[in-house]
Symmetry: C2
Subunit: 356 residues, 2 copies
Amino acid sequence: MNTHNFYAGPAILPKQVFKKAADAVLNFNGLGLSILEISHRSKDFKEVMEKSHSLVKELLNINDDYEVLFLTGGASSQFYMTCMNILNNGDTAAYVNTGTWSKKAIAEAKHFGNIEVVASSEDKGFTYIPKLDQDYSKYKFAHITTNNTIFGTQYAEIPNINTQLVADMSSDIFSRRLDVNKFDVIYAGAQKNLGPAGVTLVIVKKDILGKVEREIPTMLDYQTHISKGSAFNTPPVFPIYTSMLSLEWLKENGGVEGAEKRNNEKAELLYNTIDNSSLFFAPVLGDDRSKMNVVFKLHDDSHTEAFLASANANNCIGITGHRSVGGFRASIYNAMELDSVKVLAETIKSFDANQG
Amino acid sequence: MNTHNFYAGPAILPKQVFKKAADAVLNFNGLGLSILEISHRSKDFKEVMEKSHSLVKELLNINDDYEVLFLTGGASSQFYMTCMNILNNGDTAAYVNTGTWSKKAIAEAKHFGNIEVVASSEDKGFTYIPKLDQDYSKYKFAHITTNNTIFGTQYAEIPNINTQLVADMSSDIFSRRLDVNKFDVIYAGAQKNLGPAGVTLVIVKKDILGKVEREIPTMLDYQTHISKGSAFNTPPVFPIYTSMLSLEWLKENGGVEGAEKRNNEKAELLYNTIDNSSLFFAPVLGDDRSKMNVVFKLHDDSHTEAFLASANANNCIGITGHRSVGGFRASIYNAMELDSVKVLAETIKSFDANQG
């Protein structure tokens, strides 16, 4: 029986990606060699690197003002690396605090410059996206987290910001159409919508680099990786290969426009089911609701174990909410099929009918 | 027909590792889920993390004064991270220059303290290992590269150094018995003797940490990763799982003592074949010869293409020497079977007989 995996990440990838990735571990490109024993300087792997980079550019319609990088260390490493590369000592940056991951980004940025939290949703438990309608021109850059995995909020529209814009897009990149030209740096851990854990995507506008005074270790300088096409040192070969397979799947399935349509349909089904129930509610309202991570709760917590048992009986796993929020969370990234979301929606509906 | 892959890295892994890794991409631990979609907080993956760490401790006989970490960013990231964590501004460290990778380590260390090159083999094209018999007590630490992948040299014995000792062991860790107590930090990219590219092993003596004055970004502080068992952020799940499989294979095959015996036999066969030929020679002599990367050359370069064609005809691949050295290089890490080395030795012998 099919398992419906709603974990927040590392998350599901398309079935054809698992199949092709497993094949390549045994025999990559018909070479009689595993993808795991392939030189990163070999012709075959260079093609993988080129294709991974060009598919990102194609799918997000990125022009030549930007470079695409595949790095390691997760979004957690980008929290400080972005600042190292573009925030001079003495500069001030504007951060928006929309929860756990924003807070972590703020903490690391403080090592490199003055950080002002210009907006926050902490007053209401991070259940909404604050409005960003001030004048930000005095700041070197503004930083946002476009989707908040833990609290289940997401910017419905990317705000117009009158300074450089840096975004942690770990949990919603490739999930919808995006005007990359609004941004100066976008970073994203792969393990939600792109690939397996172990690789981090960075999209950076070239002309903002090379302007800080501090010395930057070679491996932490974006310009190092730009000059070597993400292969200055040995790159994470298998995570990049699998990301390429996942990008190919996305292209074959309507690109980000196709993903956006499917993601809207999945989220609408789930939120409608919750809104129409008597036992459950979604703490995030309206346009601020994440289409990637649907957070929902019981009015009466005493039903929690029984609902988890129902979900489990229907092979829906990974729906326990984050410990800092409680309740439930269904992560429905690009690779999650509508049929799996239907199973969860039916589980909610029938639990509500029986217990409500 | 079997391909004999002598590439310097990413390198071959045992066949059973490829098989088990491919199986896990389709169905990990019989859960009906791919290893690529497993939460890093799940019970099954926590067991992988614990086993990976404990196998390193067991195989290298590491006591509780040390911590084992699985990080990302390669040895190239450890070049600066080690210094960030243990070299105070104003401290001086002693570096041994045995070639390309040592030079890169030296360049990054200079961002964090005073660096003195206390020994070098550059005068003879890095074809030997310099003697380390001075008094190093005035240095915060000394840094060595135990095996030099490009030039094919290796410390036959780890020298006794009267200060802290830091070692880049990327290309010979797990290849022979090792007294970890001689070291304060050991680091190694996985992609030679441990696992696939995308994970980096660090072994660090706990009591040397927490003593520098500089602020360290959270992700670059060894203490962060120690406190979270290498899972402060999402770790590179698949590279760690595959490394665990490879460590299991090593344990089943006599541990590092068994590997050492096999590696000695493989290296001896290859060096003897080269020494007994009339056309070929090995530029590194005696005890300084690497048992991992066998560098050899032709007295007359005009035979190069013909020899590469012979090797290719016998399915021996990846023996072109590094561009900075020329000639040939056969990398014969732990997973390289004696039978493959025999094929290469026979290729050398018969080429020598026919052309010599």
